[in-house]
């Protein structure tokens, strides 16, 4: 599944799947003016970025993120507060 296959209402359901090399190449880099990639790992240790980062990317060095395969986001549960 690709970015063009989903609706905006589904943005929170899916994330873009990165290889480890791709993750290293974009982490902390600007995807559009004053906005920076923040790759993180999901519950299955996949490196992912959000659909917003893919959709709003205008940096010509990283336009390939728009073609990343989409997977359903499975977050790592946050550690307990207490």
């Amino acid at each position: 599944m690709k970015l063009t296959d989903i609706t905006q209402a589904e943005w929170t359901t899916y994330v873009g799947l990165l290889t480890q090399e791709q993750m290293y190449s974009i982490v902390g880099k600007e995807y559009t003016t004053d906005s920076y990639f923040n790759p993180l790992q999901d519950l299955n240790d996949n490196w992912i970025i959000s659909v917003e980062e893919m959709e709003f990317c205008t940096n010509i060095e990283y336009l390939w993120v728009k073609d990343l395969p989409l997977i359903i986001y499975e977050p790592i549960p946050a550690p307990p507060l207490s």
């Binding site: 004053d34 923040n38 790759p39 992912i48 959000s50 917003e52 986001y73 946050a78 207490s82």
Partner: protein, 261 residues
């Protein structure tokens, strides 16, 4: 002669904004007079209520882009030292505010509470959309500073290692949320100017960690929220009267911009 007089008067009017408003519009490039007048009125209200000297960072989220939302109204320099935000992960910017995606989005304020008074600190934000999970603004490093709902449990703390929470409804996750500590004994949390609860948890230290907006800055970054934010601030401790005045100021600001909730 009359033309010259009128032209001179226009120049006088154009120059009548506060220094902070002038600096902010210069930094952001905002030319919309509705926004500029709203900012100026907000600043005049902060000044008249003695709130301007307490504010360390104030993010009005106007202009609709990351490049305008990033600026601290109190110090509109494009520097970490001026507490200019950096937006990380997936944010959506609009004329109504900035919305983190609840997945990996946060904004680093570069403001570290460790550098401010243990019993003289406050922070908060104006939320336009509901969302009962995730940190609106906060940092944790042994000691806890956050506004953080998890379902109906609302965790709200300043400079304490103990825990404090109360119960809220989903409908209460909008409008201006403020937490303030002015004594070692108590921190007070307000929603839309009304006291929600006093936590009675004694302050015992300050997190040495930057405050984040949209997520919790802790050893494992998390608790990502998805509420749209239309205003956020970090300040010295606020009295109940200060909170009332700030609430009125912020609500008037949002109403002028037709984005009040």
């Amino acid at each position: 002669m009359y033309y010259g007089l009128i032209s001179s008067m226009k120049k006088t009017v154009a120059a009548s904004y506060t220094a902070r408003t002038t600096a902010f519009i210069a930094a952001t490039g905002i030319s919309d007079t509705t926004i500029i007048n709203a900012l100026n009125t907000m600043d005049l209200s902060l000044i008249s209520n003695g709130l301007d000297t307490k504010m360390k960072a104030l993010y009005p989220f106007v202009g609709g882009t990351a490049s305008t939302h990033k600026y601290n109204f109190m110090d509109a320099r494009d520097l970490d030292a001026a507490f200019r935000l950096t937006f990380n992960g997936g944010w959506t910017h609009a004329s109504t505010g900035a919305t983190p995606n609840g997945t990996n989005a946060y904004a680093n304020t570069f403001l570290n509470p460790f550098n401010y008074g243990q019993n003289d600190f406050s922070f908060g934000c104006y939320l336009r959309t509901t969302g009962s999970y995730g940190c609106y603004i906060g940092a944790v490093a042994t000691y806890r500073n956050y506004l953080l709902p998890i379902g109906t449990t609302y965790y709200a703390q300043i400079n304490s290692s103990g825990y404090a929470s109360t119960v809220i409804t989903s409908a209460q996750t909008t409008k201006l949320h403020v937490i303030s500590r002015t004594t070692s004994a108590t921190a007070s949390t307000y929603i839309n100017g009304t006291l929600l609860f006093n936590d009675n948890v004694v302050s015992d230290g300050k997190p040495n960690s930057n405050m984040y907006i949209g997520a919790l800055n802790s050893s494992g970054l998390g608790y990502y929220s998805s509420n749209e934010q239309a205003f956020a601030f970090i300040a010295d401790g606020l009295s109940p009267t200060d909170v009332t005045n700030l609430t009125n100021t912020v609500q008037n600001f949002q109403t002028t911009l037709s984005r009040q909730v």
